[in-house]
């Protein structure tokens, strides 16, 4: 499993597994995704696992006009990992 930090540059509809709030434009997040690291560090995400995010501050240079939030706590990681530890996802498909 790999953990990667990234900054989302647009409203995405993604949400934080730690606080349950939506991630807003410009906030930094830690992205958790289960997968295999292949040759040359190429990452191959596993199917049937969600991608999970945790708030990780207000941006790399802290210059964004967004709420600063840090959810990458042990409790946040525990909640995130619980969501990765599933076999499937039930929910509405819109059909």
């Amino acid at each position: 499993m790999t953990f990667e930090a990234e900054t989302l540059h647009a409203p995405t509809g993604e949400w934080c597994a730690g606080c349950g709030e939506q991630i807003i434009h410009g906030q930094s997040v830690i992205r958790l995704e289960a997968g295999l690291v292949l040759a040359e560090r190429r990452f191959d995400a596993l199917i049937m696992r969600p991608t999970v995010y945790l708030h990780a501050g207000g941006g790399y240079d802290a210059g964004y006009d967004v709420a600063d939030r840090w959810c990458a706590t042990p409790e946040g990681f525990q909640a995130a990992l619980a969501l990765l530890s599933v076999h499937g996802e039930a929910g509405p498909s819109g059909h």
């Binding site: 946040g76 996802e89 498909s93």
Partner: protein
């Protein structure tokens, strides 16, 4: 340690996934059987294909045409759901569904402006069927696809598998480390509402939601339902009936009469029947999500 082999593709316009615990050759045979069944259901029951049997039946309305076994089964189930729900579940809402914006892109004959209650809209003789107005089988098609796919998997001697199609699930046997664990997504792609632990040998989960597409139509008004329940998940033995009951839960506003159900209301609270609550791993969610639980 038992190993689960994963497979994934798309079917019926939605993601299709299978986890199966079996020797490699058997697992691949199970996946092949699922894909064959999904393709057959799509050809028979889809409202998104001009050449599906369902669309041909709708265009023949009110006349009768020969139809295959899958469509006969689906129509019979839709009829029983219509009768047992006293018309709350009504497949004749297809015109209103399209008018509300959930368009399949397939030309249809016009639907009646009002649905006559107690109408015997299904006509049948031995191998022919007819409908007095165009119909949409909606989730019944997906539920039956899951039912028949699961039967094919079991005929291969496989006991432990999890099959998922567009958010509906059939779980059988157990996972490598215990019970199958499933996250329950919220409406409109919101954060997961809960993590469910499925402790029984075989169970189906079906979810209906009044999402932005507003595709659940009240047969009494032919307008999108605007009740207090935004999303409902029902657990039962059969995926097709679980699908019917989840839709009825949205139409009724609460999932009364269902043995295991979770529903998410317009007030943002997640609720569960007493028997369903024990299946929910509330602690797996964030503090704010847990505080919303009943």
């Amino acid at each position: 340690m038992r190993h689960a082999t994963p497979f994934a593709d798309e079917a019926l316009g939605s993601p299709l996934r299978l986890l199966v615990i079996a020797p490699t050759a058997t697992a691949e045979a199970a996946w092949g059987a699922v894909r064959v069944e999904m393709a057959a259901v799509d050809a028979a029951l889809s409202r998104h294909r001009e050449d599906s049997e369902l669309i041909l039946l709708n265009h023949a309305s009110p006349g009768c045409i020969p139809v295959g076994g899958r469509l006969r089964h689906a129509l019979a189930l839709a009829w029983r759901a219509y009768r047992s729900s006293l018309g709350r579940f009504d497949p004749r809402i297809i015109g209103a569904l399209e008018a509300a914006g959930d368009r399949a892109g397939v030309p249809l004959p016009s639907s009646p402006a009002r649905l006559r209650p107690e109408e015997r809209w299904l006509r049948a003789d031995r191998h022919r069927r007819g409908v007095l107005a165009p119909v949409d089988l909606g989730g019944i098609g997906k539920g039956l696809a899951l039912r028949w796919s699961a039967e094919r998997i079991r005929r291969l001697g496989v006991r432990d598998f999890l099959l998922e199609a567009g958010g509906d699930i059939v779980a059988a046997g157990s996972a490598p480390g215990g019970g199958w664990r499933v996250s329950l997504a919220g409406p409109d792609g919101q954060r997961p509402l809960a993590v469910l632990e499925l402790p029984v040998a075989s169970v189906a989960l079906a979810t209906s939601a009044q999402t932005r597409r507003r595709h659940i139509i009240d047969p009494a008004t032919l307008r999108p339902v605007d009740g207090p329940a935004r999303q409902a998940t029902v657990a039962g033995a059969d995926p097709a009936w679980a699908e019917v009951r989840s839709k009825l839960a949205i139409l009724a506003g609460t999932p009364a009469g269902t043995e295991r159900a979770w529903w998410y209301g317009a007030d943002g609270r997640l609720r569960a029947t007493a028997s369903a609550r024990e299946w929910v791993a509330w602690e797996a969610l964030s503090p704010s999500a847990s505080s919303a639980a009943c």
